[in-house]
């Protein structure tokens, strides 16, 4: 090619006097023609171009020469920037594959010389991850798979008029190199990008001067995936939505190469990020019966809810030790799965069962179904079966802050001992200022002997989005790992539903803001501070609770992974080293009345 190039230039120079319209009239042209013919006869340039697919008229030769020259320059620059390490750096490429890759490059150059061969495009950084430069191209809208360094490699030749071709080309490339060694896209995404600037010049591109190429083992796609997630979140944080969007799309691709928990987590987070970018917020006020179904599956597949229920029940049981009439107020009744176990324990209490009264609070359900009453009825049946005097009341409120203590008809202390139970409900109140305080004062007005609180052990309520994102990523990764990793293999439907339940939480944490963001998890230490400033003092969950929790977890076949830990009187359940949910118990600090 180079040889012929020189010949072409030589020819061009030679015939420059006659200009690009080479007529056979002038002598120079005659000579040129001869040269052409010679070459043609010798199977040289013309044939070579014909091999490449160019059907070049001799009259256009000079033009062609010029364009080929430019192409060479492009190739030359490309070699310096992006391609050289493809050819020379065998860490990334399998040399045997390189030939195939080069071959595909050459075939791509088959397109007829188009006016796209501008000098401007010469500057295109083939390894650029900047989506904008691709967008600048004449009358083309690129899909920005900008992480696709590969796509910019064909550079100029990738801009033939047909729109679909580059995509397919790069798809082909992408697939090919990822098959050879998935290290190929390693040089793109693992470094954090400087924020690209918008250029006014069409086709011009910011050249990334520093592109640290990190050599990554091909097995580290997982790490790359995490990095891409973080980069995308950072882009959102910096309000650079285009880059974030491009990265999110790339996440989808990277996630496809993963299996298991990481893939699902990445997919959910990518979806949530996409929702945030496009401002398509999910409906939080979905049919509660749908969320109840998801919750039931989550209840069945993993021990978190069971742990929460059993430990809270143990605390309540101990608080009710000598009472004759007890009243439990449940801030989130849902299906009432917590109460059968408590009722059974009360029924078998030495000394006989107390009279058990339950007040369940829940969100409104669409339609006429009174879900709370149905749950109450079921519990009443159970109570009759096991011989407990039972009373039930259901309250439908939009949020806990709408509830007043007087509504609940609390009976005086001598008559009835009250316990308040909140499983994963209090954090929702943090969405609006003042709500939590209102609810806390309502609780105080109820004068409970014990307040049990179960919350996620995570900090998803920080002011900075990126921090929340990072925290959520770690938290839900552990959670998904535990779903996968426990030896119990629930049916795929159960597992999918549980994951969907968690996925909705992820969506809320990442995509929503303001009052819509209700999943405002806070760590145990923060809740402790809140409770203590509100006037509660902690009640230690005893060794019974600890023992029971341990036994419960041992029943789950993945019991090795789950850990129950005691944390200053509170119990936490975690997966390996990461605590995930925490149960704590509180009583009113002012104890003159001997509560």
């Amino acid at each position: 090619m180079k040889r012929n190039h020189r010949e072409i230039s030589g020819t061009t120079d030679y015939s420059c006097g006659s200009g690009s319209r080479a007529d056979s009239s002038s002598i120079g042209n005659c000579i040129k023609e001869k040269l052409w013919e010679e070459d043609h006869d010798a199977g040289g340039m013309d044939e070579l171009l014909a091999v490449l697919g160019y059907k070049v008229r001799s009259s256009d030769m000079a033009d062609v020469a010029q364009k080929l020259e430019m192409l060479e320059m492009v190739m030359g620059i490309a070699q310096e920037d992006g391609i050289s390490h493809l050819s020379s750096d065998t860490v990334h490429y399998n040399p045997s594959d390189l030939s195939g890759w080069v071959q595909s490059m050459l075939t791509e150059l088959n397109g007829p010389p188009t006016p796209n061969l501008d000098p401007v495009l010469v500057n295109s950084d083939p390894t650029s991850s900047n989506p904008q430069h691709q967008k600048q191209n004449q009358s083309r809208v690129f899909n920005d798979d900008s992480e696709y360094d590969l796509r910019a490699i064909p550079g100029v030749a990738a801009y033939p008029p047909s729109n679909s071709e580059p995509d397919s080309e790069s798809t082909r490339k992408r697939v090919k190199t990822s098959m050879s060694s998935s290290g190929s896209d390693g040089y793109g995404s693992d470094s954090f990008f400087p924020s690209p600037q918008e250029n006014g010049i069409p086709g011009a591109v910011t050249e990334f001067s520093t592109r640290p190429v990190v050599l990554i083992d091909s097995q580290e796609t997982g790490v790359r995936l995490v990095h891409t997630l973080m980069a995308s979140a950072e882009a959102v944080q910096q309000d650079n939505l285009k880059l974030a969007d491009a990265l999110v799309k790339h996440i989808g691709l990277l996630a496809a190469s993963q299996t298991g928990a990481m893939r699902k987590v990445a997919t959910y987070f990518a979806e949530a990020l996409a929702r945030r970018i496009y401002r398509i917020f999910p409906q939080d006020s979905l049919d509660p019966s749908y969320t109840d179904i998801l919750l039931m599956h989550f209840y069945e597949t993993c021990p978190y809810l069971k742990f929460a229920h059993f430990t809270a029940n143990q605390a309540i049981l101990e608080a009710f030790a000598t009472a004759n009439r007890v009243h439990v107020i449940d801030f989130g009744l849902k299906q009432g799965m917590q109460w059968p176990a408590l009722m059974q324990a009360l029924a078998l209490r030495p000394g006989g069962p107390p009279a058990f009264r339950l007040t369940g609070i829940g969100p409104p359900h669409p339609g006429n179904t009174d879900a709370l009453q149905q749950v109450g009825w079921k519990l009443a049946q159970l109570a009759e079966t096991i011989g407990i005097e039972f009373e039930f009341r259901g309250f439908v409120v939009n949020s806990l802050a709408d509830m007043e203590a007087e509504m609940l008809e609390i009976r005086p202390l001598e008559v009835e001992v009250v316990a308040v139970n909140s499983v994963f409900e209090l954090h929702r109140l943090l969405a609006r200022p003042g709500w939590l305080d209102k609810v806390v004062s309502s609780i105080k007005a109820m004068k409970p002997k014990i307040l049990t609180v179960v919350e996620q052990e995570a900090n998803h309520n920080g002011p900075i989005f990126l921090d929340r994102f990072t925290e959520a990523l770690h938290f839900y990764s552990s959670l998904f790992d535990s779903l996968e990793g426990s030896g119990v293999t629930p049916s795929s439907q159960d597992l999918a539903m549980s994951e969907l339940y968690l996925g909705r939480q992820i969506c809320n944490v990442v995509a929503c803001e303001g009052m819509d963001r209700v999943e405002r998890h806070e760590p145990l230490t923060q809740w402790r501070t809140r409770m203590e400033t509100a006037g509660f003092s902690p009640v230690h969950l005893g060794s019974n609770a600890y023992k029971q929790a341990n036994m419960l977890l041992a029943l789950f076949a993945g019991g090795d992974g789950y850990r129950v830990e005691e944390n200053n009187g509170c119990l936490t359940l975690g997966w390996h080293t990461r605590p995930l949910i925490a149960t704590s118990a509180w009583r009113l600090g002012t104890t003159e009345s001997g509560l």
């Binding site: 019966s289 109840d292 179904i293 039931m296 209840y299 069945e300 597949t301 021990p303 059993f310 299906q335 009432g336 799965m337 059968p340 176990a341 009722m343 059974q344 324990a345 029924a347 078998l348 030495p350 006989g352 359900h365 179904t369 879900a371 149905q374 749950v375 009825w377 079921k378 519990l379 049946q381 159970l382 079966t385 096991i386 011989g387 030896g487 119990v488 293999t489 629930p490 159960d494 019974n544 023992k547 029971q548 036994m551 419960l552 041992a554 029943l555 789950f556 076949a557 019991g559």
Partner: protein
């Protein structure tokens, strides 16, 4: 046990034709003494009890008596709580309690069991049993918590799964 039964039959056959002095000695056929049979069967472990249940119809009926299973459940627990019986019977009976909860709990906890846990195991089993009953209650009437088509309550499903030990 089974062999005794056979021997009993055999002896009957063999000695049936022997002289009158044999008739004076009571022939011991275990099936005539159901109370003794029950006492014996009460002390069996689960597997043997199930095997015994396939011996003959009488044994099958007896093996289904809940009191036998009660002993199985509370075998390692010093005096079983008194009020438990009515509760358990109401929730579905001891056999169900044992097969559904106690046995899986005991086998799963087998490797890390401590002696003091026996009572807690039973309590935990009772709680799980109660939850299971509650779910079974809801099967028909409550369409909110169950997907259409899902028939069996599954809060105890995690106990039924094979354990990767």
């Amino acid at each position: 046990m089974v062999q005794n039964h056979h021997r009993g039959c055999h002896r009957q056959d063999h000695h049936g034709t022997v002289g009158e002095n044999k008739e004076k000695r009571p022939k011991f056929f275990i099936n005539d003494h159901v109370d003794i049979l029950i006492e014996i069967l009460k002390r069996l472990d689960c597997r043997s009890l199930c095997v015994a249940a396939s011996v003959c119809r009488l044994w099958c009926t007896i093996a289904r008596y809940d009191s036998l299973w009660e002993n199985l459940c509370f075998r390692h627990v010093s005096p079983p709580p008194s009020s438990v019986r009515s509760v358990v019977l109401a929730l579905g009976g001891y056999k169900r309690l044992y097969m559904g909860c106690v046995r899986p709990v005991r086998s799963r906890l087998g490797r890390i069991r401590k002696a003091s846990w026996a009572r807690d195991e039973v309590q935990l089993s009772l709680s799980l049993f109660c939850v299971d009953y509650y779910e079974r209650l809801g099967g028909g009437g409550n369409s909110n918590g169950r997907l259409v088509g899902e028939s069996s309550p599954s809060s105890l499903r995690f106990l039924c799964k094979p354990v990767n030990v």
